[in-house]
Symmetry: C2
């Protein structure tokens, strides 16, 4: 069990004072994930060229691949190979990308840029962007059902990921987030939105990895606590980076684009938000104790999460 010390500079740049081991292994996994995402989106002839391009435009640009990494590291922490978790990892990245494509639409957050490139609807039009998101949603579940074995585990994975993506979690969180543009809500409401819009998918990643690794109940509980703490830390860091207008190449390019929105810096202040991130990352790492040394990469990833600016 390792304690991570995280500080976020006044410009919003996070730095981590913890030895992050296994970067080579992370880079290797990232390459595996990106090559699989490429393979999954070549498609047979029934897929129109514009739709294929729109999907690949949003899914394939290199990224940190944090969520699929969580799936693979959780599976490894429970004794499975990372390869066994690769289909589930790709499915999660597809769900994440679908949610970004739809969230960026003019009717939603109306963002023109995403990951340093034009948002899907800016390049391919709204109709194709809506359809690209829809396609990724179905494709993600198809891959889970088709490639995870045995069927009993695949079934539990589909239940986990569909639920996390559904009306009471990811979609419900986005819906409430659209209604809460003014900083009039409580911390409970803010955490409720974050838990559904971001946290639910983090938890699903860890549960998928645990399911594929054949986790015991104790291991599932450890992964769940880690995921709860890490998911909230991730979202507060996100709020801090937006607050400092330092999200280079991400959706929000302008300084303090969340001004007036219900966010952690607006609600509890910058300093308290930083402290919350630090103690949440520490708690996330501490929760991994039952997994022992097998969870060292998850431990390192918790630091990476805070260093993602």
């Amino acid at each position: 069990m390792k304690s991570a010390s995280v500080t976020i500079s006044p410009t919003g740049q996070a730095s981590v004072q913890a030895s992050v081991r296994g970067n080579d292994s992370l880079a290797h996994k990232r390459a595996l994930i990106e090559s699989s995402l490429d393979k999954y989106t070549r498609f047979s002839p029934g897929c129109p060229e514009s739709l294929r391009e729109a999907i690949r435009h949003s899914l394939l640009p290199p990224g940190k691949r944090l969520r699929p990494m969580l799936v693979m590291l959780a599976a490894e922490a429970c004794g499975a190979t990372a390869d066994a978790a690769l289909p589930a990892a790709c499915a999660v990245e597809m769900i994440h990308t679908y949610s970004l494509i739809h969230d960026d639409l003019p009717a939603m957050d109306n963002d023109d840029m995403r990951r340093g490139k034009p948002a899907c609807h800016k390049k391919f039009g709204e109709a194709t962007a809506i359809l690209a998101g829809d396609a990724l949603l179905s494709l993600a579940f198809e891959i889970l059902a088709r490639e995870v074995t045995p069927a009993e585990v695949a079934m539990q994975c589909v239940v986990t990921l569909t639920h996390a993506a559904g009306p009471t979690q990811l979609v419900g969180g986005q819906c409430d987030d659209l209604s809460e543009h003014l900083a009039t809500g409580s911390r409970d409401l803010l955490e409720s939105i974050h838990n559904r819009k971001t946290g639910a998918l983090f938890l699903a990643c860890l549960r998928l990895g645990g399911l594929i690794g054949g986790a015991t109940e104790e291991q599932h509980r450890a992964l769940q606590t880690y995921g709860e703490k890490l998911g909230l830390a991730f979202q507060i860091t996100d709020d801090l980076l937006d607050f400092h207008g330092d999200r280079r190449g991400s959706a929000h390019g302008s300084a303090n684009s969340d001004a007036g929105k219900l966010t952690f810096p607006n609600l509890i202040g910058v300093e308290q938000s930083k402290e919350a991130v630090s103690s949440l990352v520490t708690a996330a790492c501490n929760a991994l104790a039952p997994l022992g040394n097998a969870a060292r990469s998850l431990n390192a990833l918790a630091c990476f999460v805070s260093d993602r600016a």
Copy 2:
């Protein structure tokens, strides 16, 4: 094996000269489906009220429930109970409803009315309509994975329905349909769009029913041929009804709203379209021979399809 004789009047009203048995049973199944759809969309507290209302506004108004009926009748034709097929039937209706909600959006077909009521986005706004469609997509697969047993069959059902809803089928067909507003395409292109946009979901219904009923390969093939013929007959009838501007309470209310679009009446004329429907429905019914008397309700439904105006 029964031959159905179908005529469509100059006003687009279809009539069927075939004895349609089992209407009581169909009404009972429809009631079962609608009560289950209601149950599935009550949701736990994480679902915002506006999202729940938008989903229920689009999903719950009474309808013919043709696609879920196909699932249940196919399952019965292979020896299962209709109840065993009810979760899969509801999942299919959710996929159908999601596609209608998204197709109606201003960026897509821009339709204001659906099933005699304001389209989802007209009543709840575009953002909520997009999210309602997204939610139904995830929910459909969650129900399949959670409620179909055993897991092996559930996973085959998920693969079948995700594939039918995905980029090479339903979403791909809609994407091409948006690009083909002028009647400049060939019959091959038109059938390719119909096969993906409408036919794929029909085929999925029959395969789901077959899977739940433990169909033999021969039974699956019979159901597949029935579905191919019926799906195309359904779409040509749809084109005919649009051509005659007689779709009361459906999306297109004005006469010949498909003028200039690539449709069967525009491509091969009204008379040849009617003949095609008649011979396709006959071929659909003939294909059911290997299922014997157990398929009599599917036989009746083929006539119902042509009588749906």
